[in-house]
Amino acid sequence: MRGWRRSGAPSIRSRLAWALVAWAMVWGLSVGAAVWLVAENEVVELLDDRLKASGELVATIVAAAPEASLAAAAGNAHVTVTAPNASSDERFAWQVVGTDGALLMRSAAAPTEAWHRTATSGFTMDRDWRIYGMALAPDGRMLYAGQTLDERHEATVEVALSAALAALAVGLLGHVWLRSRVRSELRPLITLSDRLERLGVGDPHSSADMASLGPAERAELRPIHEAIEALTARLTERIANERAFSEHAAHALRTPLAGIDAQLAVAMRECPATLVDRLQRVRDGSRRLQGVVAALLGIFRSGLELERRPIDLRQLAAHLPVAGIEVHVAAGACLDGDADLLAAALVNLLDNAERHGASAIWLEAAGPRLLRVHDDGPGASPARRAELQQALDDQSYAGATGLGLMLSDRVARVHGGRLRLLDDASGFTLEIDLGSGPPSPAAPPAQPQGPGNTSPM
């Protein structure tokens, strides 16, 4: 999973997507409303024109109608004119109304009552009709042409709906297009994020492709690229310097220490018996120094690279230089961490325990990344333990903690964990938390440990 997805920070893409959805909706509604207003006016005007034109056409026809028809109409009964192809749901109708307000003639769809009993010219509204009135002849008869309001409403709605659908379609298409543009424009950022994840700063084994971000894909990203490239160059140089220093320091410190030990081993064989104990003490001190140097070199280098891998705790303890203290390891105890760093911490913890009067120490894997260390020494009072824990938490080691606790805390922190001192009625107990995260390749599962299945080394 990408880091930017698990960061919890809002995503630019999703924010832009939501903004686009909101924009599409507002745009669709606004355009729809505007179209509705414009279309309604235009449609009403158009329909009125059509009504007026139809009325004038009917007036021309009726004016030429045989006098008999009108005469018959004058006998108090109006004439109903049915067009040959008229349908029953005809929505256009007309009436001829006499000067006395009597209905003289009408189309089949027109009501049987006159729309207006007094002469009314121009456009008027009835309950269900839009009516246009005009004088037929100098005798005062009026022709009224009408159109149902349902018809007019239906036409208006059709136009408005079509316009709204068109606006919505444009909005949706715009949304899809803009969304794809957003995705396309954000791709360089995702590529940059990928390259940053794979960037092997100071790693001599990384390929040329992994050692550089490559060219910026957008002008706006160029300053970021340049800033990262500059930072990477500084880091690479610093790491190279530190690596060179650590290698030089390792050689410069380890070889003389090995030489001192070899010379002391020879001297112990060649010296008078009275000097053997004294030389042994010198050798013990030299070995303690070896442990400290190894730990310091390990801690220094761990800032450059952590080699996390499965550790057989029993095997690890078997290689520790142990003198004067019995080490018990739970059978099958396995941990996931950097073996060299853990060994460096343990050497100094063992040394600490032995110097504080412990005769035995127990190592237990309380979890895949949790090492519990317990000794049978005098331990520490709750107040002293709290003081030590505070110093470890604040990383203010100077003058507060011994070298063993300091190194163990540094080792835990390098792994992403912490050192915790536990309450214990007897002896001294601590836990080295080796951090969380995915297990290293081929890491064994945590071995459940019982107090009874330990054995001395």
Binding site: H205, E247, A250, H251, L253, R254, T255, P256, L257, A258, G259, I260, D261, A262, Q263, A265, V266, R269, E270, R287, Q290, V293, A294, E307, P321, D340
Partner: protein, 219 residues
């Protein structure tokens, strides 16, 4: 065992040379690759090689040595302790890898382990009929009775036992036992072989006329 120690640090080199000698090994100590070149063709039981030397890389020297067909067991002694470096050292031809600082006792134990591996067995105890030889404790017994041997006698016996089944030329045996720069009387080797036969039995060391000596493979 005759060992070639390639180490430029004077304190460590002299300390290891002296310690290994107290353990009964013959040590030729070289501080540079140039000094090693002067020993070309000398037989050694094991090579102790430092990675970084004043005139080149001990690792590259070992790689070249292996490429030339040499099979002598080699142990890297180095301050380089990274996983990748350990892998590189072993891949270059080292049989074992010891990170400085180390205790000389551990170096000796690893040499014993190398000796066992070379001879195809894990046990340090070898039986040749009534004679048993323990390479770890450097002791010999016949019919269960411990036999006292001088340091030189033990060296001759060890060199032959480590090459059991093979003929060891007299000249090689002299150099294995006494080192490159040791003075040796012309019949000194015969004297030691004779003493060994007297103490352990005539049948243990066979003389292959005109070629050298041989100890049969252990039972």
């Amino acid at each position: 065992m005759r060992l070639l120690l390639l180490e430029d640090d004077a304190t460590l080199g002299s300390g290891l040379r002296d310690y290994l000698r107290t353990e009964g090994h013959r040590v030729d100590w070289c501080r540079t690759l140039r000094e090693v070149a002067a020993l070309r063709g000398e037989p050694f039981d094991a090579l102790l090689v430092d990675w970084q030397l004043p005139d080149g890389s001990g690792l590259q020297w070992l790689r070249d040595h292996r490429a030339a067909g040499a099979v002598t067991p080699a142990l890297m002694l180095t301050a380089r302790d990274r996983l990748q470096e350990r892998i590189e050292g072993l891949d270059a031809g080292a049989d074992d890898y010891l990170v400085k600082p180390f205790a000389p006792e551990e170096l000796v134990a690893r040499l014993r382990a190398i000796g066992r591996r070379v001879n195809g067995g894990n046990a340090s105890l070898r039986r040749f009929g009534p004679v048993s030889i323990d390479l770890a404790s450097r002791s010999a017994a016949r019919d269960g009775l411990r036999i006292e041997l001088t340091a030189r006698e033990w060296s001759v016996l060890e060199a032959l036992v480590l090459r059991a089944g093979r003929i060891v030329p007299k000249q090689d045996l002299e150099r294995l036992v006494l080192g490159f720069d040791s003075e040796l009387a012309s019949n000194a080797l015969e004297v030691h072989v004779s003493a060994l036969r007297r103490k352990l039995g005539r049948e243990l060391i066979e003389t292959v006329r005109g070629l050298g000596y041989r100890v049969e493979k252990p039972a």
